[in-house]
């Protein structure tokens, strides 16, 4: 009987082990945590965009039966031990030696004092025996505000003499960043044509269906805070809480086991993560706060609002010689979020999938009286992709070329990889032209061109669009919590079962399943004999969190390498047991055997028992047991920026070619997607079922951002979309028919060859649909310069075009 290896789990569509628990309604999320004697928190939030606080009086609220405590911003400051919210993601205030980027800081506390700076900013908290009473008490909080001129628009915020949000700053610019490469001026001198555009991405937010929630329980006798919070960065939150609540001896146990979706919105340090613990410290009672959806829409970060003033120097044949882009991001108030990192990322990736040798990007992050700005799936690259993919079509329109030809002409060719981009990143691998060709073939472009012609004859507007998305994943930033390593602890117990403790956490990606596949293959144990424990800061090694699609790159690698190290140790022990050198042993199917002599074998669990119970029989110098800690650092990274701002901070480069056919109804502006194709390459697929799920889900975010989702503000800085009644997520009705295809170009830097898989879909639809709409409306001479493509927007463009023609 030979020890034939079992069929591999990696690469197959294994069903998720997370699911039965969830499907039976047994899974517990943060807001399900109930502790004895627990109290409930409600937060009074600023109704004004910009105002000076004259008075916050809780006395009437505190008289309400059932109300136990309250807290104001002034009281927080008077406690003496509470610091402003500790910086995030950069852990110190100025990690940038070269002064690029430049960043200004401001001390925000967990409750506003002196001034409020956006609608939704926490001003005071009340605590009661149940949530209903706590909310009643909010009506009794007396707040007097002196209105200040609101700063809403980023262009107005930049004007000299504009009202300033932070009085000790000399303007409203929080961040400046410049990155350049090549000789941009020469490229523009050499150009046949210069194409200039101003392109705008609208404010957007990820709205996980689970709003945020925080539960805190402080045990004064041991100075330990147990904290449950809806976060993608649990370990970092523990550190940030320790930094911010400066009580000597304070220690924090963070629980973040199950999160109901994150998408970047939970990659930030929030005031409630200080406020709720403080209330527990002050009252000696466990405390729970659950965000309402209305609170979520203003108190949890937004993303994407950017205006690009971009120009491209091009040859008549469509070759892009150089690009200049001045990017102004409207980042709302200055909270510790990933917003600054995301707009820097935009500046780095405007060149996209193209061989552009000369580029200059200037980024300004401008504070306004809007909700703070932070991460969302696609992290700054969504906006970059929208702009460059729009520009390619604008260039084609200007030169009367086919946009597909302009793409092909400028793509980074497959033999140029690894490719050093003009801004510094090293693109690992890709077959952009092939993916686009495949997408066009699946779309059947020739057929749709005919349909389009026929439709045009009937006065209908059909259009075809294409785009190529790159979605760099697994990032690393110097001096930040985004430290680019993945940690994992792994134990094989004496019975041969494997327990895995990763430093990250899961918001729905199915880590437990993926890890069980990897470990199952490496250690030849059954899928069901692997248990994954995530999201517990005491059980798991310190880790930098779950974001940037990093699990598939660094997470899977850390798991694989840890399993290989365990296997190596098992083989060495077996070598003693079998009295045979380890080189001549075979590890397969739950056994270690002598090569060619399958009868000379020991089972893995026999070896495991020796490791634990016969420590004196182990090879010289070997530790007992089968437990180890492994760290894997992002490959393909250059940590420090050079003098022109160039830096390689993303490790792997998944991409997606998309093509779409749309019809626009001229009388209503209504858009219908007639066909949608995506050809996605995220390297090797660990679990095709999960990859497809991630991709389709990401595409839904993409359609939402392209067509429906928008966070407008009034001139007074009042948010006009603060519920699901006015912020439109796609429902099942809005999802178009899709043709999805994968090609696999392995990641050359990791053993599994996987790249990030969950974000490209989010990035593409805005670009491909805008391109298709512009193609449809070409007879009217319409250009698309902003998102989302709502019927209202399209209708007004059509009206304007018709007016100016008649």
């Amino acid at each position: 009987m030979s020890a034939a290896p079992r069929p591999p789990l990696v690469g197959t569509p294994v069903m998720r082990k997370e699911d039965p628990d969830i499907l039976r309604g047994q899974a517990r999320y943060t807001f399900d945590i109930d502790l004895p004697d627990m109290l409930h928190v409600a937060v009074y939030r600023s109704p004004a965009a910009h105002a000076r606080i004259r008075k916050v009086d809780l006395s009437r609220a505190l008289e309400l039966p059932g109300v136990v405590a309250g807290l104001t911003g002034e009281q927080v400051r008077q406690l003496g031990y509470v610091n402003p919210l500790s910086p995030f993601p950069f852990q110190s205030r100025d990690p940038f030696k070269r002064g690029n980027p430049t960043i200004k800081f401001f001390d925000h506390y967990c409750l506003a004092y002196d001034k409020v700076r956006f609608v939704g900013e926490p001003v005071a908290a009340v605590v009661a025996t149940d949530r209903y009473i706590a909310e009643d008490a909010l009506d009794l909080v007396e707040v007097e505000l002196d209105p200040l001129p609101p700063v809403v628009d980023s262009a107005a915020a930049l004007e000299p003499g504009s009202e300033r949000l932070y009085e000790d700053w000399d303007d409203n610019v929080m961040l400046t960043f410049r990155v350049s490469g090549g000789d941009v001026d020469a490229a523009f001198d050499e150009a046949d044509v210069v194409v200039k555009e101003t392109i705008h991405s609208g404010r957007f937010t990820g709205t996980p269906i689970e709003t945020r929630a925080v539960v805190a329980d402080y045990d004064a006798s041991v100075k330990t805070l147990s904290l449950w919070t809806t976060t993608q960065i649990g370990h970092a939150i523990g550190t940030l809480v320790e930094n911010t609540i400066g009580l000597p001896g304070l220690k924090v146990h963070v629980n973040f086991r199950r999160i109901g979706g994150g998408y970047g919105q939970k990659w930030a340090f929030y005031p409630e993560e200080i406020l709720v613990p403080l209330l527990s410290i002050l009252t000696h009672r466990p405390m729970k706060w659950v965000e309402t959806r209305r609170e979520h829409m203003t108190g949890t970060i937004h993303a994407r609002e950017q205006t690009h003033h971009i120009e491209a120097a091009v040859r008549r044949d469509g070759t892009i010689l150089g690009v200049r882009d001045r990017i102004v991001a409207n980042i709302g108030a200055a909270y510790p979020t990933g917003g600054l990192a995301s707009i820097v990322t935009t500046g780095m990736f405007v060149p996209g999938a193209y061989q552009i040798a000369n580029y200059e990007g200037q980024v300004q992050g401008v504070v306004t009286n809007k909700t703070p700005y932070g991460a969302h799936r696609g992290f700054g690259k969504s906006e970059a992709c929208f702009v460059i993919e729009r520009m390619v079509d604008r260039i084609a329109a200007n030169l009367d070329l086919d946009p597909v030809d302009v793409r092909r002409r400028n793509f980074i060719p497959p033999d140029a990889f690894p490719y050093r981009s003009v801004t510094g990143p090293r693109y690992d691998s890709g077959r952009y032209g092939e993916a686009l060709d495949k997408a066009l073939e699946l779309l059947d472009r020739d057929h749709w061109r005919n349909v389009k012609k026929e439709a045009a004859a009937e006065g209908r507007y059909l259009g075809i669009g294409t785009c190529l998305v790159i979605e760099p994943s697994s990032s690393t930033r110097m001096g930040s919590y985004n430290a680019g390593y993945y940690s994992v602890r792994m134990r094989m117990d004496p019975n041969g079962k494997v327990y895995v403790f990763p430093g990250g956490s899961d918001e729905g990606q199915g880590h437990a399943t993926s890890i069980s596949q990897l470990v199952g293959d490496e250690l030849q144990v059954s899928f069901d004999d692997v248990m994954v424990v995530e999201g517990d800061s005491l059980a798991c090694p310190y880790g930098s969190g779950s974001y940037s699609s990093r699990f598939s790159v660094v997470g899977t690698t850390a798991v694989t390498m840890a399993a290989r190290a365990l296997r190596e140790k098992l083989t060495q022990i077996a070598s003693v047991m079998l009295r045979h050198p380890p080189g001549g042993l075979e590890y397969a199917d739950g056994k270690v055997s002598v090569e060619g002599r399958p009868e000379q074998a020991v089972s893995v669990s026999e070896v495991a028992r020796v490791a634990y119970f016969y420590p004196f029989q182990l090879p010289e110098g070997m530790d007992p047991g089968l437990e180890l800690l492994y760290h894997f650092r992002d490959p393909n990274i250059e940590f420090e920026a050079d003098e022109r701002g160039r830096v390689a901070m993303f490790s792997s480069f998944p991409y997606d070619a998309e093509a779409a056919v749309v019809e626009v109804e001229a009388d209503t502006g209504l858009l219908r997607i007639l066909k949608f194709v995506s050809v996605h390459d995220c390297g090797n697929m660990l679990n095709p079922l999960i990859v497809r799920g991630q991709h389709v889900g990401a595409l839904a975010h993409g359609f939402g951002g392209a067509l429906y989702e928008e966070l407008p503000y009034s001139e007074e800085g009042q948010p006009m979309a603060a519920t699901f009644k006015d912020y439109f997520l796609p429902t099942a009705m809005e999802m178009p028919e899709m043709v999805l295809e994968h090609i696999e170009t392995p990641n050359p830097f990791t053993p599994g060859g996987f790249k990030g898989a969950g974000e490209t879909g989010t990035v593409g639809p805005p670009a491909v649909l805008a391109n298709a709409v512009e193609d449809a409306l070409k007879p009217l001479g319409i250009a698309i310069r902003r998102l989302p493509l709502t019927p209202n927007y399209l209708w007004s463009l059509i009206q304007e075009a018709r007016r100016s023609r008649s």
């Binding site: 039965p20 999320y29 109901g260 918001e507 729905g508 389709v696 099942a732």
Partner: protein
């Protein structure tokens, strides 16, 4: 405000007697008084559908009812579908089609699909879309959910018997 009312319901086949403030929402009653946390909430405008249960055979958003309005009625929540350790065929189909990721919307999604299948044993994709139009999911993009419901419909079809 502090008026308490007695409430008697049948939930997942068993009678439950309890008491709650008159203004308490049914979703809170199910979660905090009955103690079944599988029913969730994700909004305050009855748009997300996370709180969906089946009430007297029809799907209902439990955040839009007061607990007292459920008095005398028969409720099924996500905890009432599986028998013992076996998943209900609809739940099994959700797993097979990968129709859930973070799982936060899943209880509501499954209950809407359950109500749909009890009224229409062979729904078309468009009928499924309509059946879950009140359930927002931010993870799956709905396509796998539609596939799961189709799969379950095929399996649950009394003529087809068990697969």
């Amino acid at each position: 405000m502090s008026d308490r009312v007695k409430i008697g319901i049948t939930i997942n086949g068993a009678p439950h007697e309890g008491e709650a403030p008159a203004r308490m929402l049914l979703v809170d009653y199910i979660r905090d008084v009955v103690g079944l946390k599988g029913t969730r909430y994700g909004c305050d405008t009855s748009n997300c559908g996370s709180c969906t249960i089946v009430m007297d055979g029809k799907s209902a958003k439990s955040c839009t009812f007061l607990a007292v309005q459920a008095h005398g009625r028969e409720l099924t929540t996500i905890e009432g579908l599986a028998e013992g350790s076996e998943l209900h065929p609809l739940q099994a189909a959700f797993q097979e089609a990968h129709a859930l990721q973070c799982g936060f919307c899943t209880s509501g999604m499954v209950m809407s699909a359950h109500a749909l299948l009890s009224q229409n044993s062979d729904p078309s994709p468009d009928e499924i879309r309509e059946g879950i139009i009140g359930n927002l999911c931010r993870c799956t993009g709905y396509v796998p959910v539609i596939e799961a419901v189709q799969l379950a419909a095929r399996r649950l079809d009394p003529k087809g018997g068990n697969p």
